[in-house]
């Protein structure tokens, strides 16, 4: 087992650069999750690590060894595909043993490794079935099993759960977490499901348009985002944003409103445009400076989402109690100053004290 290093990694397909300089250090045994909007280059980055795409510039080190130009099969990585890519004409046993047959692993050793992986994933009963005779979750486990028997240094997962229904996803998520704990292997996991990212990751890497926006532990990214993109990407409903202008007295005036809100940060230059960010669970309803009208109310049982409109800006609030109100009802909202974050309206970067 060993860590992974990406140094100034770039990838272009023809004239278009898809990965624009990624630097990343992944520790041995870490579970890293890549998230980002569709098309941001998550799969491409993973395929570069696997060696399925050639690097345009930069370096990839696995366990300290430069593997940038090493054949995919010799990098010590195993990949689980979104489609599982199980060979349909082979049984589970043949699928899991394919790599060992190719590499002429002695029969006895191959059988032992296969049995061990099968037992770990509860596949022993299914070894003689073809993929078509398996459920989605079982296929998923076979795909993982095929990766495990190779005993790789790094596991790569590209949206492995996205073909499963919601319930199975929750179950497989838990199994994956347990597997990671048990194997202690380095894993890189691509998803665009936030819940998967938040629950599985040791650290999350947020990507946008081929660049790393921020890297950090899930709660760290959630509580302390570096920029508007990360703030808006994690959390559902997403963080509320109000564009405001800094007043001469240092207060913040949301555009289109006639109220001033206290600033969490002192000493901002008057006239500067900032974005006030506040998570829905921190928005207070009842008394406050902002007048809004209710658009919709979502009752989830354990919590209530209120979607309101504040002079054209949508504001979502999450309440822990049940709260019945009609659409179009008038509301007053408060954004507790100590819970709000400020971002530069032009660059989107977080403004810190």
């Amino acid at each position: 087992m060993s860590g992974l290093n990406l140094k100034a990694l770039r990838k272009a397909f023809g004239p278009t650069e898809i990965i624009s300089g990624v630097d990343l250090e992944i520790a041995d045994g870490e579970l890293i999750v890549f998230v980002g909007p569709s098309g941001c280059g998550k799969s491409t980055l993973l395929r570069l690590i696997a060696g399925l795409e050639s690097v345009s510039a930069g370096e990839i080190l696995i366990g300290g060894r430069d593997v940038t130009r090493v054949d995919p099969a010799r990098r010590g990585v195993a990949m689980v595909f979104q489609s599982y890519a199980l060979f349909p004409h082979m049984t589970v046993r043949q699928n899991m043993g394919f790599g060992m047959r190719v590499n002429r692993v002695p029969k006895a050793e191959a059988a032992e490794r296969l049995q061990k992986a099968a037992a770990l994933l509860q596949l022993t009963e299914l070894l003689d079935r073809k993929p078509a005779q398996l459920s989605g979750g079982q296929r998923q486990r076979v795909a993982i099993g095929r990766a495990i028997v190779r005993d790789p240094q790094v596991f790569l997962f590209d949206e492995p759960l996205s073909n499963l229904d919601a319930e199975l996803r929750v179950q497989m998520r838990a199994e994956l977490a347990a597997l990671h704990a048990r194997l202690g292997a380095t894993m890189i996991y691509v998803t665009h499901d936030q819940v998967e990212a938040m629950t599985l990751a040791d650290r999350i890497v947020v990507l946008r348009a081929g660049r790393v926006e921020q890297v950090g532990a899930p709660l760290h990214l959630y509580d302390d985002p570096d920029n508007l993109f990360v703030a808006g990407f994690l959390g559902s409903p997403r963080m509320n944003f109000l564009t405001a202008e800094v007043q001469p007295d240092g207060q913040l005036r949301p555009l289109g409103l006639d109220v001033d809100l206290p600033s969490p940060i002192a000493g901002l230059r008057p006239g500067r445009r900032v974005v006030i960010g506040c998570r829905p669970e921190h928005v207070e309803i009842g008394d406050g400076p902002l007048a809004a009208t209710v658009k919709t109310v979502e009752q989830l049982g354990n919590s209530t989402f209120v979607h309101a409109d504040c002079a054209g800006t949508p504001i979502a609030a999450e309440l822990q109690e049940r709260w019945g109100t009609r659409a179009d009802a008038a509301l007053r909202l408060a954004l507790p100053t100590e819970k709000t974050q400020l971002f530069d309206a032009e660059t989107g970067l977080r403004i810190r004290q």
Binding site: L52, P72, A73, M79, F87, P88, F98, V102, A132, R146
Partner: protein
């Protein structure tokens, strides 16, 4: 209503009879002595449709006249072509489907055009190539030019292109080289395509007439269509033997086709790739 139905069935029986009768009569005639062939036909009696009097003379005579070696020759040529053709055409289709190389679409275009050209158009240029190679009257002249077949390449290309690329990449990561991937993953998935292409190559050779006639002028090594023609010229009055030769010629490809025909029509759907 039922009268109408009866009429329809009658019409169908008549049509079926018209189609089947000549075939049936040819088969029957090969099992009669030569002098009995036209006996029940003018005037017509139902006996004309029964193998009566029954005799295997025709077949015995055919094989005594060397038809056996003609069949063996043809099986050799067609078998070699099929075996080599499957390898060559599958490899070509695989390369077109999986690899990027300069001029790929142009070459693929040439492949497509090549199977649209009628054979007559290339017969003479092919003849001069083969004769310069010194292959005239050699088996190689029959086999080699037919091994690479544009339609077979295209069949494989079409099929391999539809196989999810993930299979290739997964096998790559497991350490398999491209040849191993072709053999262990693509070929097993493409069995129906292999069978279609194989049958096509086989039947192409089985039916070849013009080219063997040109390429084997010495007539030492005869294939079946040429042999049949020669047979007709030589034994114009041995009707039962002519019919016997025709029946054998038709029978052998049929024996291949019947057990394999369900693969012939089976597309991607049945190969287990989808779902």
């Amino acid at each position: 209503m039922s009268l109408r139905k009866a009429l329809i069935y009658m019409a169908m029986v008549v049509v079926a009879f018209l189609f089947v009768a000549p075939l049936w009569w040819a088969i029957l005639s090969s099992f009669r002595p030569n002098d009995a062939i036209f006996r029940d036909l003018f005037p017509f009696t139902p006996n004309a449709l029964l193998p009566e009097p029954f005799s295997l003379d025709a077949y015995v005579a055919i094989f005594q006249r060397g038809f056996g070696s003609i069949i063996a020759n043809t099986l050799l040529v067609a078998g070699l072509t099929t075996a080599l053709g499957l390898v060559v055409n599958a490899l070509a289709g695989y390369a077109f489907a999986l690899f990027e190389f300069p001029g790929k679409s142009a070459v693929l275009g040439v492949v497509v055009v090549s199977f649209m050209l009628p054979f007559e158009a290339i017969a003479m240029p092919l003849y001069s190539v083969v004769s310069q190679l010194g292959w005239i009257d050699h088996v190689a002249a029959l086999v080699v030019p037919s091994v690479a077949n544009g339609l077979a390449v295209f069949l494989f290309y079409q099929f391999f292109r539809e196989v999810p690329k993930d299979y290739y990449e997964a096998a790559r990561l497991e350490g398999a080289g491209w040849l191993r991937i072709l053999w262990s993953v693509y070929v097993p998935l493409s069995l129906p395509t292999c069978i279609s292409a194989g049958l096509m190559l086989f039947i192409f050779q089985w039916e070849a007439f013009l080219w063997p006639l040109l390429a084997m002028p010495a007539q030492q090594f005869k294939v079946i269509q040429v042999g049949m023609a020669a047979f007709q010229d030589q034994y114009t009055t041995a009707w039962n033997q002519l019919f016997g030769a025709a029946v054998i010629t038709a029978l052998i490809p049929m024996l291949l086709l019947i057990p394999l025909q369900r693969y012939y029509v089976q597309g991607l759907a049945g190969s287990g790739i989808k779902g």
